[in-house]
């Protein structure tokens, strides 16, 4: 991990109508770091990812990602900027009329800078990496939720992004598959030096791979710390969140 900032959230406020979801969010996420956001449901974790990706504009404050003020970018510049970011959506968000391999190949085909043979090779490699080497010709409707998530993961990393955003990467998955995804996040980040921001409720996974964990409550980061430091916290809200997942002497699923 270097000291270079990849994401700077500067007093970001997000309101929907009169309801403030994010209330002056501030964070500095560094290059190569795995930054995990945890917290109760409905506190704005997914909204934070959407602000970072430029899918939503903050009501107030600044969001700087990979050296660019996301909201100052023109449509064309924002589109080019997003190609430096991989995003795994909670549902996988695959296109239903394309096979898993076609979904993964889509960004490469659409940007048209890579020869077709190279696209096939790269798609096969990332599908293999996520354990879907034999399932590329199946459609999303023909596979399980876990396979959709993994295909979404493959699509997120196929263009070698500098930043990866994960929205609940293990929700709805069995413990074995959750571990596979956890290991993938850790290995991609370590091997390629990619910065990762992970929104999750899965504390056991987060403790495995996180460099820092931030607890989001009422639109603000209540505490940001290393996994070890967070486990020792005395902040009541965080303690309650951690204790709820403490089963059989460990933070399990």
């Amino acid at each position: 991990m270097s000291s270079e900032s990849v994401i700077l959230l500067d007093n970001a406020v997000m309101a929907f109508g009169g309801r403030r979801v994010l209330n002056g969010l501030t964070a500095d996420i560094r290059k190569g770091e795995i930054f995990v956001i945890i917290g109760p449901s409905g506190t704005g974790k997914s909204v934070t990812l959407k602000l970072i990706s430029g899918l939503l504009e903050p009501t107030a404050g600044r969001v700087t990602v990979l050296g660019e003020d996301v909201n100052a970018l023109s449509d064309a510049a924002l589109s080019a900027h997003r190609r430096r970011i991989g995003y795994l959506f909670q549902s996988g968000a695959l296109l239903g009329w394309k096979t898993l391999a076609e979904n993964v190949a889509l960004p490469l085909l659409e940007h048209g800078r890579i020869p077709p043979g190279e696209i096939d090779r790269r798609v096969a490699a990332v599908l293999e990496e996520v354990g879907l080497g034999a399932s590329g010709e199946l459609y999303p409707a023909e596979v399980s939720g876990g396979m959709i998530k993994r295909a979404g993961f493959a699509r997120a990393i196929v263009e070698d992004p500098e930043l990866l955003l994960f929205d609940e990467p293990t929700s709805g998955l069995d413990p074995v598959m959750s571990r596979v995804i956890d290991r993938l996040i850790a290995s991609i980040s370590r091997a390629r030096g990619v910065t990762c921001v992970v929104v999750t409720h899965d504390l056991a996974g987060a403790l495995q791979y996180a460099d820092r964990i931030a607890f989001l409550k009422e639109g603000r980061f209540l505490e940001t710390a290393s996994p070890e430091a967070l486990l020792k916290t005395r902040t009541p809200d965080i303690r309650a969140f951690l204790d709820a997942q403490f089963v059989g002497g460990t933070y399990g699923r």
């Binding site: 929907f16 959407k50 939503l56 995003y87 659409e110």
Partner: protein
């Protein structure tokens, strides 16, 4: 243009924003026509939409046109028979169908069969975050999804309109020959004789306009979908209602422009 947006609570503001987006999406889609020629994915989607908008609408269009022609001819025949002017049925049918009913029926059929499906599909894609995923991949949802749909409708609507006119004339001629003592061929030749080239091109222009309006309205409403399955249902219904209104209002102004001024 950003597609993942915070919902606007103010109702008037939301309607205005949607009108503005519809205009922007329509203009952008029209300008992006070269994508159909040069982008393989766009071209494939365009041909698929041609099939959906054109070929799959034919059964409904045939039944609706046939019976509309028969009903109109029957009603007109009853009226004109009092003055022994049965041939006027063919005359009236000719300009009514080419000028108004052909494109109007095309618009209504496209809105209810094709536009509603577009709104539902794009609505489901929006709530499943597939549109956001396209944006994150740096793929313009207008170019990827709207351009093939809008241009397919623009191409198919006039063809469908002409087909509807022909089938309606056949239905009318069938009623003429069986119930109004008007031979089939005489009815058809009268339809062709009185048809003016202006009626034909104004009708086809209207059909193109309705095709474009229905597709852009349906796509924009699809993109604005919120709140899961309920939202998809609401968007589908809204796309049909708004398309009908746009067809009626647009149709009036086109008629006024070509036949009054």
């Amino acid at each position: 243009m950003r597609f993942t947006q915070a919902p606007i609570r103010n109702r008037a503001g939301a309607v205005l924003a949607e009108c503005g987006r519809t205009v922007l999406v329509t203009g952008r889609s029209l300008m992006l026509f070269p994508c159909i020629l040069f982008n393989r994915e766009c071209r494939r989607a365009f041909f698929e939409q041609l099939y959906t908008a054109g070929i799959r609408s034919l059964p409904v269009a045939t039944v609706v046109a046939l019976f509309t022609g028969m009903i109109l001819s029957l009603q007109l025949g009853i009226a004109f028979r009092q003055f022994s002017q049965e041939l006027m049925v063919a005359y009236t049918m000719s300009f009514t169908m080419f000028r108004e009913m052909g494109p109007f029926m095309t618009g209504i059929i496209l809105a209810s069969c094709v536009g509603s499906a577009m709104a539902a599909q794009l609505g489901a894609m929006t709530v499943n975050e597939e549109i956001a995923a396209l944006e994150m991949m740096g793929i313009d949802p207008v170019r990827f999804l709207v351009v093939p749909r809008l241009w397919a409708m623009a191409v198919m609507a006039p063809l469908l309109s002409f087909y509807i006119c022909v089938v309606a004339f056949c239905g009318g001629a069938l009623v003429g020959s069986t119930q109004l003592n008007l031979p089939f061929l005489q009815y058809m030749s009268e339809v062709v004789r009185v048809a003016e080239i202006k009626d034909l091109y104004v009708g086809l222009f209207k059909a193109i306009l309705f095709g474009i309006m229905v597709s852009s309205v349906s796509c924009v409403i699809g993109f604005s979908t919120r709140q899961g399955a309920v939202g998809v249902g609401a968007s589908t219904r809204r796309s049909v209602v708004v398309s009908f209104l746009v067809i009626l209002i647009g149709g009036y102004f086109v008629t006024r422009f070509f036949y009054v001024f």
